[in-house]
């Protein structure tokens, strides 16, 4: 067990380190000298000596491998460099932009999960075939809708047509309703698909037949026996989905004009602010790795069969 844990942690650390390295190569090494490009433009009127000074301040006058070593040790200490565009430290930018995105993403996640569970359970409980096939087709539709378009359509229909939610200076909660729906719909689709599939798989198992033979009702069987077992496969894609929440925030925050990590990402790309983008890439990889690690550690807790296997190994 201890060996497994250490191995699992080491693997997570390696993926994270590799993500950092890939982002460093992609964003800092290959594009050439971003600072050179920014400050060299003649309208800034900087002399060669001043540019050299700025370059020294950003530590880009050193060989790549030295820069990489610096960046890595700094990142381990939590120092993520400076935003070339805004002149503030990247850590500072992340700190100010994290809370609004975190709030939006957690609301979106909760809604996505409820939506997926609702669709999947209703689809397997309903006695009507037409309702079942409609519900089963929903995730495929959700996946095919561009997120930004969904946001615009929601504004159009719910705000302008039905006038249910104001878009011009809405209240704090009111302003989050439409972005939350926009973010949640595409995330809920793969969740619902896996849930439907795994409920179907579990329902053919013997213990379900036994429970039913003993006289349990359909919803009793579903909640007490099927749901617990059907949740397990869903956990495997949790890491991917949380990463997608961050990516979805890029589009959602742009459409609704919100501040947060998403609009920070968009601005960083627009102004070629590579250190900010690098930090965001590493952050999303961190979320992915931590969630997957958590899921792997949680698995034996949720699934007694795995626990027994571990105890056997020990």
């Amino acid at each position: 067990m201890a060996k497994y844990l250490i191995g699992r942690f080491a693997q997570a650390a390696i993926v994270l380190w590799a993500a950092f390295t890939v982002a460093f190569i992609l964003l800092q090494v290959l594009p050439g000298d971003a600072i050179m490009i920014k400050f060299q433009s003649p309208d800034l009127g900087l002399s060669a000596a001043e540019i050299a000074q700025i370059r020294a301040a950003y530590a880009v006058d050193q060989p790549i491998i030295v820069q990489y070593g610096h960046a890595l040790t700094n990142a381990l200490e939590g120092k993520l460099g400076y935003s070339v565009q805004q002149g503030v430290s990247v850590g500072e930018l992340l700190r100010t932009n994290l809370p609004p995105t975190l709030r939006l993403a957690s609301l979106g996640f909760v809604l996505a999960v409820s939506l997926a569970v609702g669709i999947a359970f209703l689809a397997s409980l309903t006695p009507f075939a037409w309702l079942r096939s409609t519900l089963q087709a929903l995730p495929a539709l959700f996946i095919s809708v561009p997120v930004f378009w969904l946001g615009i359509v929601l504004i159009q229909v719910i705000s302008f047509r039905l006038k249910l939610v104001s878009v011009i200076s809405p209240g704090e909660f009111e302003g989050l309703i439409l972005p939350t729906i926009t973010l949640a719909v595409p995330i809920s689709a793969p969740l619902a698909q896996i849930l439907i599939r795994s409920i179907d798989a579990v329902q053919t198992q013997n213990f379900v037949a036994v429970a039913r033979a003993k006289g349990a009702s359909a919803s009793q069987v579903l909640w007490a026996h099927v749901a617990r077992n059907a949740i397990l496969p869903v956990l495997t894609i949790a890491g991917v989905l949380l990463g997608e929440l961050l990516a979805g925030a890029v589009v959602t925050e742009t459409v609704f004009g919100l501040n947060g990590l998403g609009s920070l990402t968009r601005d960083a790309v627009g102004s070629q602010d590579v250190s900010v983008l690098q930090a965001l890439v590493v952050l999303s990889a961190l979320v992915f790795v931590v969630v997957n690690l958590g899921v792997d550690l949680l698995y034996p807790v949720l699934d007694p069969r795995l626990r027994r296997r571990f105890e056997g190994v020990r």
Binding site: I14, A140, W149, V250, L280
Partner: protein
């Protein structure tokens, strides 16, 4: 990969009753192919579908609602929305084809090497694939687009590179599966060289799953390219690229719903169709 295949128990009298018949195609699948075919025709021969231009507007016809003259209305400088969607098909579809080609070629290659060479080569490639998969694809393509610069082809290539890891992982698992099969063992046993067996047996037998993923990725690429276009990192205006059409229509969201509504509908229909076709290959790409 879910490799669950049910084996059918056939009794003698059902064999006698079975007649050769045409394969039945589900009406939904037929519709999906029709949508893709129509979109391809739009991309290849846009002028036979509309007499309006995709980029030049008519003066005095600004922001007209859908009518007999302009089926899907006109935009702020009098351009016909229907014409813009049709001329835009070329941009969106070419981009998606390019993206899938990049992902398919590079990914298949990496997966084939990883799966057939094995050992440390496999480890290195698959760890790299793990890293690529740990970064959300939008962030990955945005990072690549910083490197390549903004533009239509750059956006497509960025989306393609971001999908390499998915193809590589699928291809590797397929190669590993096929390699263990008896006929590949037999091919090696009867003296086939490594590369010959790879080319003649392993590659063709791994293709169904890869083609299925390619179809799925085609839809995903259309969405991703539209997203990049919407954010302003894809084709520049006045290109009628679908994502850009929606971005431009956004300013008139309160007054002219048709500017964003119809291009979005075009994206949804084509992506739905691509996903349906991917599904029809009978494999669930991971």
């Amino acid at each position: 990969m879910s490799g669950s295949r049910t084996t059918e128990v056939v009794s003698p009298d059902t064999i006698a009753l079975r007649r050769p018949r045409l394969p039945r195609i589900a009406p939904g699948l037929l519709l999906a192919w029709a949508v893709i075919l129509l979109a391809l025709l739009w991309a290849l021969l846009p002028w036979i579908f509309t007499s309006y231009s995709g980029t030049i507007g008519t003066a005095g016809q600004q922001l007209r609602a859908p009518s007999a003259l302009h089926w899907l209305g006109t935009d702020q400088i009098g351009r016909d929305v229907y014409a813009r969607i049709i001329y835009g098909a070329r941009h969106s579809l070419t981009g998606a084809f390019l993206a899938v080609a990049v992902g398919l070629l590079a990914g298949t290659w990496f997966g084939l090497i990883a799966g057939s060479v094995g050992g440390w080569v496999d480890d290195v490639i698959m760890r790299f694939v793990d890293v690529m998969l740990s970064i959300p694809s939008l962030l990955l393509s945005l990072s690549i687009i910083i490197l390549l610069g903004f533009g239509e082809l750059d956006a497509a290539v960025a989306v393609g590179i971001a999908s390499v890891a998915r193809f590589a992982r699928l291809m590797r698992s397929e190669v590993v599966r096929v390699r263990r099969s008896d006929y590949v063992e037999a091919a090696f046993g009867s003296g086939g060289s490594f590369s010959a067996v790879l080319w003649r047996h392993v590659l063709p037998n791994s293709m169904t799953a890869v083609v299925s993923l390619a179809a799925l990725q085609f839809g995903t690429a259309i969405l991703a390219i539209a997203t990049l276009g919407f954010l302003g990192y894809g084709a520049p205006p006045p290109t009628p690229e679908w994502g850009l059409l929606i971005a431009e229509g956004r300013d008139y969201v309160a007054t002219a719903w048709w500017l964003t509504g119809f291009p979005g509908l075009a994206v949804v229909l084509v992506v739905l169709a691509a996903n349906r076709i991917s599904h029809s290959f009978g494999q669930e790409p991971v």
